[in-house]
């Protein structure tokens, strides 16, 4: 396949391309597209009594999702995702700025310290937080030592613990794109800003943050959208009291044994994600046009 194809071999080349793409294409179709379509089909079906579906076509499942109880879950999820993205963006920028202002070798070491937990399983990291925040655990001992608490503190389950877990899980995802957009920046830019009258705050707001915008946008996207689908953290650290859409879907499928409604909630989540993606995509395109 190294020699250029002879003239008039377009059709044969097209066939070859299709043949080479077929294994991957079939895999994606079989493992992603088909299940997705099945979920969409289920979302319009009528539930039977045993957790399955009776088929048919109805909009009742979607209509049921408009119940305030469910709407609250969607609203709460969007709020949580936005808050998580905002906090991750802020911390991510601070960490990324700290990283790029270190010597190159130190940067590699610090990056590794972020990457290793990032590669560790989600569940393991969440359990680690259970240990850290448990009564008499390391964090509790620390707050006891400095006099913030007296004796064992009951922090798990709570909304706060759940949020800490979320931020911790997504922070690396925010650090990397911001780090990438700050890494190539000439250190003289910050000095030039100071030279031209900026104190440290305006060095960031006027120069570094605007330059990091593409990275910040990517970080927002990469933290906001996945947060919508999280379900382990609210259960383990939040006690399942404040549910995210992910938890709702699990509950509908497993506890309520209502497969069509679970499917409908999944489809709504999918649409929410696609809409967010479109919003971020438009913002990114506008940004590129402006700087081009």
């Amino acid at each position: 396949m190294t020699a250029p194809p002879p003239a008039g071999a377009g059709a044969r080349r097209g066939f070859l391309t299709a043949a080479l793409l077929a294994p991957a294409g079939l895999t994606v179709a079989g493992l992603v597209l088909v299940p997705l379509l099945l979920v969409v089909r289920d979302s319009f079906a009528t539930p039977d009594l045993y957790g399955g579906t009776k088929g048919g076509f109805t909009l009742a499942n979607y209509r049921s999702l408009f119940d305030p109880v469910y709407l609250k879950v969607f609203g709460y999820s969007l709020g949580m995702a936005a808050l998580n993205a905002a906090v991750c963006l802020l911390l991510g920028y601070v960490v990324a700025y700290y990283l790029v202002s270190r010597a190159p070798q130190r940067q590699m070491l610090l990056l590794l310290l972020i990457i290793v937990p990032f590669w560790t399983d989600f569940l393991v990291r969440t359990f680690a937080w259970i240990n850290l925040l448990s009564p008499g655990g390391p964090v509790n001992s620390l707050t006891d030592a400095v006099g913030l608490t007296h004796g064992p503190a009951q922090w798990i389950p709570s909304q706060g613990a759940s949020f800490v877990g979320l931020v911790y899980a997504f922070l690396p995802t925010a650090v990397f794109p911001v780090y990438a957009s700050l890494r190539g920046v000439d250190p003289a830019l910050g000095e030039a800003a100071r030279d031209l009258g900026c104190g440290w705050w305006r060095v960031h707001t006027k120069v570094l943050l605007p330059i990091a915008r593409p990275g910040l946008l990517a970080a927002a996207l990469l933290t906001f959208i996945p947060t919508l689908g999280v379900f382990v953290i609210p259960v383990l650290l939040g006690g399942g009291k404040n549910q995210l859409v992910g938890n709702l879907i699990v509950t509908l499928y497993t506890e309520f044994r209502n497969q069509p409604m679970g499917a409908a909630a999944s489809v709504v989540l999918l649409v929410l994600m696609l809409v967010s993606l479109a919003v971020f995509g438009t913002a990114a395109r506008r940004l590129r046009r402006k700087t081009a």
Binding site: D186, A188, L189, E191, A192, A193, R194, D195, L196, G197, C198, G199, R202, K206, V207, P210, I211, R213, T291, A292
Partner: protein, 370 residues
């Protein structure tokens, strides 16, 4: 509580204008090593001043202490007669032209140039006119809407100059201003920077390792080596009357004869006594005699050398054609090397490998302490 310390400002004396920059006993240590040590220096108002030295001599650190990016470990900085040692960069009445230009990539040419006025909250209505004037000053009229990324190196530098001068600082520091430009553009910018400095009446301080740059542009030059300032003087004085062997060697080219000073000259082992010009060193001191190649005449015989000068037999090792001049590499009787240079009518066809005579006017050589 006792009273607060007196405000950190020293009023300028009414008689003489305060120097633009006054460094007193300034030093900067990084760990145990000093990058700059015990520098005392005045830079006058409205002069074009150069800090010249090889890389690693401490010139950049010295400049960064003037801008405020580095805090001196010892000594004081005064700017325009006002004590400025601990003052942060954004509160100093000076600007800097960065070697990389450091233009803000997310802003247009206009917004780059207007940056300082916006940050310092100048009246909104005054900004467009000021930007237009600043761009006209660097001959970039009409470039305001351009993106920074599309500019050539020379244009970027002009934008950086306009951005640095728009706030009318009392002092502009230029870090290797011509380092990134090609040879031809460099020669052009040398003259232009000089002209610009006279036009705007701002004190320019440039930091450079390029002696030609320093000699062409500066009113005065400080030569640095090993963290210390060795000599501060006009380009002519630095070239004609270098204070140390390093200066004589670093600025232009010099060859050196080394020996002991006596009443009738410098006694060089294996060479005899060489006449020297007036100097302040005591008899019996070890000293170097610095001779510039362009002051050395080479001839076939001693009697064809200009009369009244030094005349030494030498072996011609090599001639190098330089275009505008020819350089002769000579070895003297004691084995030391001597360079001679002749241009135009002074050039002579001389036999390589044979004995010739080298001579110079003692007044055109210089005695330097060991």
């Amino acid at each position: 509580m006792t009273s607060a310390p007196a405000p950190a400002s020293v009023p300028a004396s009414a008689a003489a204008p305060a120097p633009a920059v006054r460094l007193t006993g300034i030093g900067k240590a990084f760990g145990p090593a000093y990058a700059v040590k015990d520098v005392t220096l005045d830079i006058r108002q409205n002069e074009f001043f150069s800090i010249l030295g090889p890389s690693g001599c401490g010139k950049t650190t010295l400049m960064r202490m003037i801008t405020g990016f580095e805090t001196p470990s010892e000594g004081t900085v005064e700017l325009g007669g006002v004590h400025a040692t601990g003052v942060p960069p954004h509160k100093r009445d000076l600007n800097m032209l960065f070697q990389s230009y450091a233009l803000f990539p997310h802003l247009s040419v206009y917004d780059n140039v207007a940056f300082e006025l916006k940050v310092r909250k100048h009246p909104r209505s005054a900004i467009p006119g000021a930007v237009r004037d600043a761009l006209a000053l660097v001959r970039l009229d009409g470039y305001g809407d351009r993106a920074v990324a599309g500019l050539s190196g020379g244009q970027k530098q002009r934008v950086a100059i306009a951005r640095a001068l728009i706030g009318r600082p009392s002092l502009l520091l230029l870090d290797e201003p011509l380092g990134a430009l090609d040879q031809k553009l460099r020669a052009e910018m040398q003259l232009e920077l000089k002209k610009l400095q006279r036009e705007v009446g701002v004190t320019f301080v440039t930091v450079t390792h390029d002696q030609e740059e320093a000699l062409t542009m500066s009113d005065r030059i400080a030569v640095m080596d090993g963290g210390r300032v060795l000599q501060v003087d006009t380009p002519e004085a630095i070239y004609e009357r270098p204070a140390t062997r390093f200066v004589a060697d670093f600025i232009g080219t010099s060859t050196f004869l080394t020996g002991r000073l006596g009443t009738d000259g410098l006694a060089v082992a294996g060479l005899g006594t060489v006449p020297v010009p007036g100097h302040a060193l005591p008899d019996g001191a070890q000293a170097h005699l610095a001779v510039r190649p362009e002051n050395v005449t080479v001839a076939r015989t001693a009697d064809t050398l200009p009369p009244g000068g030094v005349a030494l037999p030498a072996t011609l090792q090599q001639t190098v054609y330089l275009g505008n001049a020819t350089r002769y590499h000579l070895t003297l009787a004691d084995g030391s090397e001597l360079l001679a240079e002749a241009g135009g009518a002074g050039r002579a066809e001389l036999p390589v490998g044979e004995q010739v005579w080298a001579g110079w006017d003692p007044e055109r050589s210089r005695v330097l302490a060991e």
